[in-house]
């Protein structure tokens, strides 16, 4: 188990790995503060992953409550929100599934289709038992009769996870047998209806909603879909209570989350951070506040991507002044999303990076809805055109009008949020890289390096 853990948490980008040892923000909840560094979910730096025996010694048995629904109140008081990107209040989802007609299914969503995010893969490797505990607790709370762990698999990983599950069954820890279902390596694999379709035996393509999966999901049954990190938090709340949970984080956004950090120097780490932590504590963004505004050359990062590929770019100076909390981020058009934080190195062209990601997003469209199928490739093509100033070429300024029009045409006209998230990402790029756009329109680029920074999976 130890050796496996050491080769674990390989984030998809090239770069060194390791758990971060940087000190994290103190908790703002009532009672004593969380000791630094926070290690609720990820093992403390240098410590190996917990095997079942160590897990039971540290956290005890699965704290079943005895009846469906009991845990939901604790989750509500704790204020747990989803860690898969949408930040939906977990207690509401649990209640909805419990109230729906039919025998529910619980699905732990470890698909992690976001190429820049590695937290779910790492969590499953470093602390799988917290996730597996969470599955059992969610199943009890919703009255579910089936449980699925949905995750990208290779033979070795499947064998290892099945062994863990079998070990727990023979130790009589789990009441429901957990079935492993392989998720494809696609951006939309973790979308809730695509997930439900895949688990039901079909392709991982989204469906039109209503009905949402909490009403009719896997095999037409009410389905509680939750990110694996969320389930890990849930299993800790069940043991230690809502007040403990709120010792880290802010009063409105309690708790911690795992972030994938892409540093400007190329390192990629994972960190568990309390919500409300200043972003400048997580990424090196240079002098916190520059007296004369944001001169891109004086900071190591020319811009910061927050949330993931459906997230938003912010100028470094803005990012340096805000915290990892939706309350602060929403004002700037961003959310914590899947916890991806990427500092674009100075000397890289933000437009080129955006164009590469937009191309990936266009190729990852499910292709089922006309507006998305037609609009995303055109948006990506226009960005590629804007980014290309080889030989002093000047992109047509009309492209900006086209981008604006196409963004408006795809927004909320698909069956899922893929076009919406893409538009948010692209629109924030056009805003943040405004100066770069002006330079490009005159045939110049401020970038000094063409190397790709953000990962776009095994595609082109």
């Amino acid at each position: 188990m130890t050796t496996f853990a050491q080769q674990s948490s390989q984030p998809t980008a090239g770069g060194q790995t390791g758990s971060s040892t940087r000190p994290l923000g103190p908790g703002h909840g009532a009672g004593q503060s969380e000791p630094r560094p926070i290690s609720r979910l990820l093992p403390p730096p240098g410590k190996p992953a917990l095997d079942l025996g160590a897990h039971l010694r540290r956290h005890g048995q699965v704290p079943y409550r005895g009846r469906p629904g009991q845990l939901i109140e604790d989750v509500r008081v704790a204020g747990l929100t989803g860690k898969g990107g949408a930040a939906f209040p977990v207690h509401r989802k649990l209640s909805a599934v419990l109230a729906a007609q039919g025998r529910p299914v619980v699905v732990a969503n470890g698909a992690e289709g976001e190429p820049a995010s590695a937290k779910d893969k790492a969590l499953l490797l470093l602390n799988p038992h917290l996730v597996l505990d969470g599955i059992q607790l969610a199943a009890e709370a919703t009255g579910a009769s089936d449980a699925v762990l949905y995750v990208t698999l290779d033979a070795e990983k499947a064998h290892w996870l099945n062994a863990l599950i079998a070990q727990r069954r023979s130790a009589n820890l789990d009441r429901l047998e957990v079935r492993l279902v392989a998720a494809p390596h696609k951006f939309l694999a973790g979308q809730e209806s695509a997930l439900a379709n895949r688990i039901s035996g079909g392709p991982a393509l989204p469906s039109f909603a209503p009905p949402r999966v909490f009403e009719r999901g896997v095999d037409g049954r009410p389905t509680f879909v939750s990110n694996v990190e969320t389930l890990a938090h849930l299993s800790l709340i069940a043991r230690y209570g809502p007040s403990w949970f709120a010792r880290a984080g802010t009063p409105d956004e309690p708790g911690t989350m795992i972030c994938t950090l892409h540093h400007a120097d190329g390192r990629v780490d994972l960190t568990e951070a309390a919500l409300g932590t200043p972003l400048s504590d997580l990424l090196d963004l240079g002098p916190a506040v520059l007296a004369n505004g944001d001169d891109p050359l004086s900071t190591p990062a020319s811009a910061v991507l927050i949330g993931g590929y459906h997230g938003a770019w912010l100028p470094t100076a803005t990012a340096a002044r805000i915290t990892l909390a939706n309350a602060a981020l929403r004002r700037h058009g961003a959310t914590v999303g899947a916890g991806v934080l990427a500092a674009l190195p100075a000397g890289r062209c933000g437009l080129a990076e955006t164009a590469r990601v937009a191309r990936y997003l266009a190729l990852e469209s499910a292709g089922q809805c006309g507006p998305c199928r037609n609009g995303l490739p055109r948006i990506a093509g226009a960005l590629a055109d804007l980014a290309d100033v080889t030989g002093g070429r000047r992109p047509d300024p009309a492209l900006l009008h086209d981008l604006d029009r196409w963004s408006g045409l795809v927004y909320r006209r698909g069956a899922c949020a893929h076009p919406d998230g893409t538009v948010r990402f692209v629109t924030s790029a056009l805003r943040t890289f405004d100066a770069e756009i002006t330079a490009h329109r005159h045939g110049r680029c401020t970038g000094t390096s063409n190397r790709a920074f953000l990962p776009v999976g095994n595609g082109e």
Partner: protein, 71 residues
């Protein structure tokens, strides 16, 4: 009458194949984008168009146009 929501047009974008019959039948509320897919007015269906809206829903070859139920 307070708080009562009128029916609105909606489209199942997966079922929609861009026939464009809806825009012909209900031009007051439906136009086509530059790729031939329907753009629906985001307003409740006015009473004088209700019958025509219902017919348009029935006539969609792909059964992709929907009327959300008034509450």
């Amino acid at each position: 009458m307070s708080g009562r929501q009128e029916a609105k047009l909606a489209v199942n974008p997966i079922a929609c194949s861009g026939h464009g019959v809806c825009a012909e039948l209900l031009p007051e509320l439906i136009t086509l984008d530059e790729w031939g897919y329907p753009l629906l007015a985001d307003i409740p269906v006015p009473a004088h168009l209700a019958r025509q809206a219902r017919r348009t829903v029935t006539d969609c070859p792909a059964l992709a146009l929907l009327l959300t139920k008034p509450t």
